[in-house]
């Protein structure tokens, strides 16, 4: 018996709906490490992936320990799960080791957690800020699959391309005429917080996904202080 033969012609003018497991809910985060403090900030706008605003008051920052804070932009669903997972692992660590996880250890843990899902990643863009065991301010920045680097300052999210050059200019002192004999100048906590507010105002002007409010977390040896700044609602 002859095998049946088929010809398949693709349908014309038919759009196929493909399910995408990912959506970008927008937002910008940043972390700035000082000599003995760290400032971590994120806006609180949740977009629906398009032009709509689902909420103006959704936090993107989670305090992990008294010395470490994580801020995440990207997909809100993955962000919530990731923060939940990390907090659970922190509790387990504290039970098993009798002490809270150090910021450097948390940084490595996040990297491992993200790479664990290398082939179906968390759609998250993270920054971690805090102080290490010596009391020195640290910041770490990550990509979606866990590649990370310790930095003096970092930003992520839809406003990253707007914000990062400003941080390079003001914090990295790039292109400033600094005499080589001058001692490196470190910013104070107040100056850093003021810079963060300015930077978010600028990002909010030009990035439609950034705005509403900013949560600013300041981590010092005395713990974590939070404040909120207003941005434009447009």
């Amino acid at each position: 018996m002859a095998a049946p033969s088929f010809t398949v012609t693709p349908l014309q003018n038919v759009k196929e709906q493909k399910f995408s497991p990912y959506v970008n809910n927008g937002g910008t985060t940043l972390a700035v490490a000082g000599p003995d403090f760290c400032v971590v900030a994120a806006d609180t706008r949740l977009s629906d992936g398009g032009y709509g605003i689902s909420s103006r008051t959704v936090p993107k920052v989670t305090k992990l320990t008294d010395k470490c804070v994580i801020a995440t932009s990207g997909m809100q669903g993955d962000m919530i799960t990731l923060h939940k997972t990390l907090k659970a692992r922190l509790v387990m660590y504290e039970h098993q080791n009798g002490k809270p996880m150090s910021t450097t250890a948390i940084a490595q843990l996040l990297s491992n957690t993200l790479y664990y899902k290398r082939f179906f990643p968390y759609y998250t863009f993270n920054v971690i800020g805090g102080i290490d065991d010596d009391g020195v301010g640290v910041a770490y920045s990550y990509d979606a699959v866990g590649s990370f680097e310790r930095v003096k300052y970092s930003s992520s999210g839809t406003g990253q391309q707007l914000v990062q050059p400003i941080l390079d200019n003001q914090l990295g002192r790039k292109h400033h005429h600094v005499p080589t004999t001058a001692a490196p100048v470190n910013m104070t906590v107040e100056d850093s917080e003021a810079l963060v507010r300015d930077v978010f105002n600028s990002a909010g002007e030009r990035d439609i996904y950034t705005g509403d409010f900013v949560d600013i977390y300041t981590i010092t040896k005395d713990g974590v202080k939070t404040s909120k700044a207003e941005l434009k609602f447009d």
Binding site: Q161, L162, K174
Partner: protein, 206 residues
């Protein structure tokens, strides 16, 4: 890969107090390969008007030659130089004529307009949609977000000529450092009633 990102490049213009400035990077490259680090993107139309062109390099050259032709004819007929605002409209029409087969350029025009020599800046997209701003305008697909960020932060109104130079210099250098296909230094032109001061900037050569 967008055709507007084939050669890279960044241009920004800003308004100051009785002065205007325009800055560009110096890279000329073809995708990842850099051919030259001494190719500015700003051309002089006349003493009171400069035009910067980002986008596809070959179209930049062609559009500039067409502009030069038009402004030369204008000068012969009107017996005066073309006003920057008028040039902006002329360019807008020229680009829209090619609506369905456009020149891949992103122009930025700056000058001192009219008998009052009022600072004027404008930009447009590749099919001529004009953008008149009071503070700053920029062009350059790859570096545009970075430029928006720094300009929004560093700009303030009523900058004097030397302050404007500093701000433009910092903006262009900081922004192109975050763009792989723009950079290799910069050039800043500041135009006042007295004339044009041009300075080349040393930047990262990568």
């Amino acid at each position: 890969m967008s055709i507007l990102e084939y050669n890279g490049g960044a241009v920004v213009a800003m308004v100051g107090k009785d002065c205007v400035g325009i800055a560009s990077d110096l890279r000329f490259g073809i995708q990842a390969q850099t051919i030259s680090g001494t190719q500015p993107k700003i051309y002089k139309i006349h003493d009171k008007c400069l035009i910067g062109l980002a986008g596809l390099a070959t179209d930049n050259q062609t559009v500039f030659e067409k502009i030069r032709f038009r402004t030369n004819i204008y000068r012969l007929k009107e017996e005066r130089e073309i006003r920057p605002k008028t040039l902006s409209n002329v360019l807008s029409m020229m680009l829209y004529e090619k609506r369905f087969g456009p020149y891949f350029v992103e122009p930025v025009i700056m000058g001192l307009d009219g008998p009052d020599e009022k600072p004027f800046i404008s930009a447009m997209d590749l099919i001529g949609a004009p953008l008149l701003a009071e503070d700053f305008v920029l062009a350059g697909s790859s570096a545009s977000e970075a430029l928006y960020g720094v300009c929004e932060s560093l700009y303030r109104p009523n900058l004097e000529a030397d302050e404007l130079f500093e701000v433009l210099g910092q903006c262009i250098l900081s922004a192109v450092d975050r763009d792989a296909i723009s950079g290799w230094g910069g050039v800043v032109h500041i135009m006042t009633k007295e004339g044009i001061t041009s300075r080349y900037l040393k930047g990262r050569q990568d």
